[in-house]
């Protein structure tokens, strides 16, 4: 009981990470205050841009916890999901918006409920394709390269998913 209480009082790894980041920023501010001052407007701008995605993501997590059973997650995104699972991961990665790190909590929750490791990796790889930014990619590099990159990204997301899954689960099974 005492050990359990002590474990509860101990800060979580996430909190330790935040404290380490805050400490690093404080030291940087003491050594090079300009570097921290320059970062403040960026911090506020990014925060202003991501909060709607953050809220959306937690609403999605609530809906997932409320309506979708682990059995359904396994059926749609588990080992038996086959092409359907790949399709959801590839399209989901392409249409999801906001920075990549906002999607980690949702993916962690889905993996806990039975999502394939390969599909989580494929989802993250497909975040390289952003439909809203395609016109700009075409502007900077031309239509040909944009099409080639988009197609290769979708194909290699599956390749990467399979490699990551083989490396992680192959290793775990040893």
């Amino acid at each position: 009981m005492t050990a359990r209480r002590a474990a509860q009082k101990r800060p979580s790894p996430g909190m330790l990470f935040f404290l380490a980041t805050a400490f690093f920023t404080l030291i940087l501010w003491l050594v090079r205050p300009g570097a921290v001052r320059r970062a403040v407007p960026f911090f506020l701008t990014i925060l202003g841009e991501i909060w709607p995605v953050l809220v959306f993501m937690f609403v999605l997590m609530f809906v997932l916890n409320l309506f979708i059973s682990p059995q359904a997650v396994k059926r749609w995104l588990g080992q038996a999901s086959r092409q359907r699972g790949w399709f959801i991961a590839v399209i989901g990665g392409i249409v999801s918006s906001g920075p990549i790190y906002l999607w980690y909590p949702l993916l962690a929750e889905l993996r806990k409920q039975g999502m394939r490791t390969a599909l989580a990796a494929a989802f993250l790889y497909n975040r390289a394709v952003k439909p809203a930014l395609l016109p700009l990619l075409i502007y900077y590099f031309g239509l040909g390269l944009t099409i080639i990159l988009t197609v290769y990204t979708a194909i290699f997301s599956i390749v990467q998913g399979l490699i990551v899954e083989r490396l992680i689960e192959g290793h775990a099974g040893e």
Binding site: G14, F17, F18, L47, I100, Y104, P105, L137, V164
Partner: protein
């Protein structure tokens, strides 16, 4: 309140409490990186040698921020004579490899997953760049260089 809603709220609330400090930490690191790595810094890294695709992927891996920024830098690198192979590796690594976000990814999805995913994404950034350049040559497409 029905029990199922209460349970779902509790689970989501717990996930939120666990996620917020990590996301705040990543946001701080990303802001520091974006604000303090000047766009012109990347051009200095390239050497016009066969190592450039690896340098491109490495530079893209440590960079953080909106992909749009990578397009602007990539366009600038092409104008300065950096090879298309290196620029594509840079663009791919920018969006698929996250050195700054690695601690957060490891905390949420596991250290082994995060490291394996980022290492393979780094290698694949170079592979995709090579295949893209090869395909462009085969199809006869020349890259557009913005004025």
């Amino acid at each position: 309140m029905p029990r199922t809603i209460h349970i779902a709220l509790k689970k989501t609330g717990k996930a939120l409490i666990q996620a917020l400090p990590i996301l705040a930490g990543v946001l701080t690191l990303v802001s520091l990186a974006v604000a303090n790595i000047p766009k012109t810094w990347y051009a200095r890294l390239f050497t016009n040698t066969p190592l450039d695709p690896v340098i491109g992927a490495a530079a893209g891996s440590v960079a953080a921020g909106n992909p749009l920024t990578s397009y602007i830098i990539g366009g600038e690198l092409l104008r300065r004579g950096v090879s298309l192979l290196a620029v594509i590796a840079f663009l791919m690594a920018w969006v698929t490899v996250g050195f700054v976000q690695l601690p957060a990814e490891a905390m949420f999805l596991g250290r082994r997953f995060a490291v394996t995913r980022n290492v393979t994404a780094f290698v694949l950034a170079i592979v995709v760049a090579m295949l893209s350049v090869l395909t462009m040559r085969l199809v006869g497409i020349t890259p557009r260089i913005t004025p």
